[in-house]
């Protein structure tokens, strides 16, 4: 901490993606939860940079929608009552039905300490491994891939390797939007080293592709084939590192044979992947000729019924070329959550034990039991996420405790999950948010501390452990998850094992376990932070970001694994896995002719419980949408701005149509974020097929056969209101929180008797003189605005046909304490008076720059590159996440 720094500036870590950016949070007002967020220039993951989401964290720490007190059956109560209820209920269920009748479903959002305690409680003391985590949905295939290849869940690389690389292959990763700060590091590396090539493999033309030297718009799900083809090509072109293969690997022949059998010719691979042979050959050639290659893979690879195989197909190529454990090389799995890695370390998955030990290894089980001093430890793997909710649905699991996650939105076949929870005897949910689709179904609600209040550690995707530190005292009765779980454990008779006084206590125990009996030269365990086993409270508070392993021998951590060519398998050699590529399980058919792909957006996080509170973050993509290729759109009678019903065998939803060539024909893309809190029919999880990878249990969230049809409403409406309204039961409803207003997009197929009466009852303002109205019944148009004391309170735009007018200028009027007469008279036209400009849809969240302003500046000042746009408008000079989008405003070269 520099001397000049205000005493109230706290160094902490971002709670969103796996990049794990360091943050300097300056508390401006602890009571009002006002905080200024900056990147920590000293943090080795981000060096001061933050993305749009991280930068807007200050908007998300308000008391809005916070769960502040425990509730049992909807009635607020004190902690003793709630904890007794939970302990007594779990005890009674376990007594009657056994330990496997309870389950935990937890989260990569938990801090390592919380995660450790809940795992210890479940696996060590309740005695069941029915604890799984939302990381199952995100990177369990990557875990399987690493474990199969390396004998341990060990990510070999560091971010530095991206900077040292000369070829970066980004496969199944929209890095630009999902890991923006690392993507900016890649872009800077490319600036510094023009020889660095970037290849993007993605069915979609994403923002990441804008910076790529080569984009392979692969047919959905064909990654294994492409990488098998690469392995065959490497062998054929003598690009293998035969010495490495011989010295440090096993089973190469099997893998190569399988690669040759399935992907022996570039032409066949190209055809099956929907690519041109020339592009495939170019990629293979670059790979063969570039030693310093990093392959980054993420959900596009993992979220697949053959996700593990895809990971191993990628790893195979790195092993075959010896490109691992050296600077600028390696297979690099990008995780989606802030502590997905921490979760892996504590054994958050149903098939793993703490400290990277395994539930299928009796020696490990014995060791952990001795360490925990328990005779109740689980001895076999538990139910993985999808199976777990199936078991709840089937009634074999009677009680579930969900912590810091929202499975009713994020799991595949999400309506089934919802119904399963509805019929479950006991649903306990710990969350910091009062209303989520999952919390709404809970019998017991436990108020957890939020990001700004929690204390502990997280591990990012380069194995870097960083501290998250509290900015504010706990709100209301909120408590850390480790405390809640420990209290319940104590009440169930395990007080001796859960007598933690602080999170440092837990961290020390976690660290000690990682070093416990971890000294066998022939069988070391990768996860070892034993150096922290006796960390003092002060040292814990001051803990600097560090990459594990951190041992007495290596007290400063380890940037890169496998530098000695030794792996964690029994033979200490890396294993090749023979891969037989498999297409997605469910194939499109005439009824469901599209492949539905899901994914993240730049400015939203998961189920929007926090990012959805930030007006700025809602502005980029305010509504759930479906992307479709122009040919498909015209074939299915869809126009831009239409609404469409998207359906699969499992469920359906309504979304706004976005027609774009970024989407390949035959594919649809829908973002994953929207919930029933914010939309009536916007949950894409309801459509996703509940098909899982047989090895990892990870769902195939990116390939579901789906159909799309126009949703022709009788009316479409856009409602803006200064105070939130309850528009009622409307078929299509989206709630968008804005700056000083809430926006509702509405549509329905039943006629409305009277808009005027509806608006009056909705706004509680019966006094019509305050109401401006515009109507053109022939066009089905009704518009109204409520203005009180020259302040705009509500405005409503209805039309029988989309699109409704653009809202930018109208939204800006809510920021004004008063509107003038000219604005008032133009209001219902939605067209700003001359001289007042609508800046258009938000592009740059950091500096609030809209597309119209950018287009105008580019036109008027003949701007030729993003730097010039930045100089003129500041756009793109903050987090840089919008740089790919800015490029699209520049004149075509």
């Amino acid at each position: 901490m520099t001397a000049a720094m205000n005493a109230k500036t706290i160094i902490t870590t971002c709670p969103y993606c796996g990049v794990g950016c360091g943050i300097l949070a300056t508390v401006d007002d602890a009571i009002a939860h006002k905080v200024t967020i900056q990147g920590d220039p000293d943090h080795p993951s981000n060096f001061g940079k933050l993305c749009s989401k991280g930068s807007a964290l200050g908007d998300t720490v308000s008391m809005e929608n916070r769960l502040l007190h425990p509730e049992v059956d909807g009635i607020p109560c004190d902690w003793n009552t709630a904890l007794d209820t939970v302990a007594d209920s779990l005890t009674s269920v376990i007594r009657q039905y056994g330990p496997d009748s309870v389950a935990f479903y937890v989260s990569g959002q938990l801090l390592t300490e919380d995660y450790y305690v809940v795992n210890k409680f479940m696996k060590g003391f309740i005695g069941s491994a029915n604890i799984d985590t939302n990381s199952r949905l995100c990177m369990s295939s990557a875990v399987t891939g690493f474990k199969r290849a390396f004998g341990a869940d060990a990510v070999p690389c560091s971010y530095e390797d991206l900077e040292a690389a000369e070829l970066i292959v980004l496969t199944g990763s929209n890095t630009a939007w999902c890991h923006p700060v690392v993507f900016q590091r890649i872009l800077r590396a490319k600036e510094n080293n023009p020889a660095l090539k970037i290849v993007v493999i993605d069915p979609r033309q994403t923002a990441t592709c804008d910076s790529a030297d080569l984009h392979l718009a692969i047919k959905p799900g064909m990654d294994s084939l492409l990488f098998n083809g690469l392995l065959a090509y490497l062998a054929q072109t003598d690009a293998l590192d035969n010495d490495y293969i011989a010295a440090h690997t096993q089973d190469f022949e099997w893998a190569l044979q399988s690669a040759r059998n399935t992907a022996g010719s570039i032409e066949a691979v190209a055809q099956d992947c929907g690519l041109s042979s020339a592009d495939v050959e170019k990629f293979y050639g670059w790979y063969a000729n570039t030693a310093k290659t990093v392959t980054v893979y993420s959900q596009g690879v993992n979220q697949s019924a053959s996700g593990s195989d895809k990971c191993n197909a990628i790893i195979n190529c790195h092993l075959a070329t010896g490109r691992i454990g050296k600077p600028g090389m390696g297979p690099f799995s990008f995780t989606g959550q802030p502590n997905a890695m921490g979760g892996r370390e504590v054994g958050g998955l149903a098939n793993t034990l703490a400290a990277h030990m395994e539930l299928d290894n009796p020696e490990h089980i014995d060791r952990v039991a001795r360490f925990w001093q328990t005779d109740r430890i689980a001895t076999r793997p538990g139910l993985k996420a999808v199976e777990l909710f199936d078991a709840i649905d089937a009634g074999t699991v009677k009680a579930v405790w969900i912590i810091a996650t929202n499975p009713v939105v994020t799991l595949p076949d999400a309506d089934k999950v919802k119904n399963a929870l509805k019929r479950c005897d006991l649903v306990i949910v710990s969350d910091c948010i009062k209303n989520t689709d999952t919390v709404d179904l809970a019998h017991v609600r436990l108020p957890a501390a939020g990001w700004s209040e929690k204390n502990g550690t997280v591990t990012n995707m380069e194995r870097r452990i960083s501290r998250q530190r509290p900015l504010f005292p706990f709100s209301g009765s909120a408590r850390p998850d480790w405390w809640i779980v420990s209290q319940v454990a104590a009440r169930m008779g395990f007080k001796h094992a859960f007598a933690y006084r602080s999170c440092a206590d837990i961290f020390r125990e976690h660290a000690a376990l990682s070093g416990f009996e971890n000294n066998r030269e022939d069988q070391p365990r990768d996860f070892d932070i034993s150096a922290f086993g006796d960390l003092t409270e002060d040292a814990y508070d001051l803990l600097q970001p560090v990459q594990w392993p951190v041992t007495k021998k290596n007290p400063n951590g380890t940037a890169r694994l496998f530098t000695d060519g030794k792996f964690y398998t029994a033979s200490q050699k890396a294993r090749f896995i023979a891969i037989r590529p498999r297409p997605p399980v469910n194939k499109p058919d005439p009824n469901y002719p599209f492949t539905l792909n899901t994914g993240r957006l730049r400015d939203q996080w998961h189920t929007m419980t926090r990012t959805g509170l930030s007006a700025k973050l809602n502005a980029h993509k305010p509504e759930p949408f479906v992307e479709i290729h122009p040919l498909d759109a015209s074939r299915h009678n869809l126009q831009a701005h239409d609404l469409a019903t998207i359906s699969s065998l499992w469920g359906n939803m309504i979304a706004r149509v976005v027609i774009t060539e970024n989407q390949q024909p035959g594919s649809l893309f829908v973002p994953m974020h929207w919930t029933a809190q914010l939309t009536s029919r916007g949950r894409v999880g309801a459509l996703v097929n509940p098909v899982v990878d047989p090895h990892s249990g990870q769902p195939e969230s990116k390939q579901t056969p789906a159909a799309i049809t126009p949703y022709r409403a009788l009316w479409y409406a856009m409602l803006l209101s200064r105070s939130p309204l309850v528009p009622g039961d409307i078929e299509y409803r989206v709630t968008i929180k804005g700056d000083a207003f809430t926006r509702y997009e509405l549509a329905d197929r039943t006629p409305f008797p009277s808009w005027r009466d509806w608006l009056r009852s909705l706004s509680g303002e019966p006094n019509t003189p305050h109401c401006l109205e515009y109507s053109d019944p022939e066009r089905g148009i009704y518009r109204s605005a409520l203005i009180i004391d020259d302040r705009l309170e509500v405005c409503l735009f209805v039309s029988s046909t989309p699109p409704l007018p653009e809202t930018g200028w109208l939204e800006s009027l809510f920021a004004q304490p008063q509107i003038n007469k000219e604005e008032r008279l133009r209001l219902l036209s939605a067209l700003p008076p001359e001289g007042q400009e609508d800046c258009g849809r938000l592009v740059c969240s950091c500096f609030n720059v809209g597309e119209k302003s950018i287009a105008k500046a580019v036109r008027e000042f003949n701007l030729a590159n993003t730097e010039q746009i930045g100089q003129r408008l500041s756009a793109g000079t903050g987090c840089g996440s919008c740089l790919p989008e800015l490029k699209r405003f520049l004149p075509k070269q």
Binding site: T768, P769, H770, C771, L772, E773, Y774, S775, D776, P777, E778, R779, I781, I787, P805, K821, R824, L825, R826, L828, S829, L831, E834
Partner: protein, 407 residues
């Protein structure tokens, strides 16, 4: 020798014609004017401000006596100079007091008379119309000593009178047979808005009813009985139920008359030496009550009289631009709409603004603007030119698009 032009009627229509004539053809005629009121030509529209006390009689004179002298116009004015006959054979105009004037061309501009409904008791003291300076003087006198004024008629004139009397401190009730005000100029909605706005200024209204009976006491009006059976105290009753063309003289002398003096597009009557303009004429079946078409007639007639033009009077679109008690109003075309008509409406009750455009076949067919008439000229152009408004329909009512609207 100069030709002689005689004008019967010293009002706005006749004198506008004379003014235009002496401007375009000075000295062409010897001009003689007969007027039944003892004044020069005054602006009848401004009688309301006189009633308010905002203006004096002098302020509303368009042409005072000096002007007639300056232009060598012989003016015979006053009740004695009321023209009682025209000898078309001799081409001679004869006034009540025997004054005669010969003409080569005669212009009849006798205007209109208030329509007095045949209500029992209508001749009682305290019942009057609102038409001339004398009426205004009488109204002002009454307002000084009396409390209750009744105005029969919710048209423009009635509302002006009501407002004036209210300003003069009287308790005023307007009675109108139609159920909304200004029913010839406004649709229901705008009429209702006007009523609300005027009520907030302290006027009272009884709509959808008429006066059945005028009850007097000591020869002076005391009460009116309404068609709904109610009674209202009344010290003054202004009859403002409309006007009728003043065609007595024209009929007497045998000109073709229907409801008005029938004129052709050159404003000529059935006698080729006699012209007629103003509220007394009937042109292609249409009668007149507003100043704009009347002035247009004056312009055409002056050109005809100067032999220098083949200009023709064409019916203006029935567009009404009004300022009632300070409220801007505009209406034109088929503003009530009807079969196959669509309506685009904007309302801002707090600002007292209401706009309606009647659309038929993608074109503006009718316009009502209340409170904000800024775009009336543009809408009227669109209406006249039959402009297809579909490309900017959704912003039409918000005014002329600032930019060329691309499809």
């Amino acid at each position: 020798m100069k030709q002689k032009l005689v004008v019967i009627g010293n009002g706005m229509a006749g004198m506008r014609t004379v003014e235009a004539l002496i401007e375009s053809a000075p000295g062409l005629y010897d001009i003689t004017v007969f007027g039944a009121e003892p004044y020069g030509n005054y602006n009848r529209i401004l009688l309301t401000p006189v009633l308010f006390g905002e203006k004096r009689i002098d302020d509303i004179m368009i042409h005072d006596f000096a002007w007639y002298r300056k232009h060598h116009i012989t003016l015979h004015c006053g009740p004695d100079k009321t023209v009682i006959d025209v000898d078309r054979n001799r081409r001679c105009v004869i006034a009540k007091d025997g004054t005669e004037a010969l003409y080569d061309r005669l212009l009849i501009a006798t205007g209109s008379l208030p329509l007095i409904l045949p209500i029992p008791g209508r001749n009682t003291e305290g019942v009057m119309s609102f038409r001339e300076i004398a009426d205004v003087e009488a109204m002002i006198a009454k307002s000084r000593s009396k409390r209750h004024a009744i105005v029969l008629g919710g048209g423009l004139l009635g509302l002006e009178a009501a407002n004036g009397l209210k300003q003069r401190g009287m308790h005023v009730t307007v009675i109108n047979r139609a159920d909304h005000l200004l029913n010839r100029q406004l649709d229901n909605e705008a009429g209702d808005l006007l009523k609300l706005q005027l009520e907030s200024k302290g006027l009272h209204f009884k709509l959808g009813c008429t006066i059945e009976n005028i009850i007097s006491q000591n020869g002076h009006i005391a009460e009116v009985e309404l068609s709904d059976g109610s009674f209202l105290p009344a010290d003054l009753l202004i009859m403002a139920t409309g006007i009728k063309p003043n065609i007595e003289l024209a009929k007497t002398i045998g000109l073709d008359c229907e409801q008005g003096i029938v004129v052709d597009d050159t404003l000529q009557t059935s006698d080729s030496s006699i012209y007629s303009v103003g509220e007394c004429v009937q042109h292609r079946g249409e009668l007149f009550g507003l100043v704009a078409p009347v002035y247009e007639q004056a312009k055409v007639c002056a050109r005809q009289l100067s032999h220098r033009s083949n200009s023709r009077y064409q019916s203006l679109l029935p567009a009404t631009r009004l300022k009632v008690t300070g409220i801007d109003l505009f209406s034109a075309g088929d503003f009530n709409g009807g079969e196959q008509c669509e309506q685009i409406v904007f309302k801002d009750p707090a600002l007292h603004i209401y706009k309606k455009l009647v659309i038929k076949n993608r074109r503006i067919a009718g316009i009502v603007l209340y409170g904000d008439t800024g775009d009336s000229a543009w809408y009227l152009d669109c209406l006249k030119n039959r402009t297809d408004i579909s490309p900017y329909r959704d912003c039409l009512i918000f005014g002329r698009p600032p930019l060329p609207v691309a499809a």
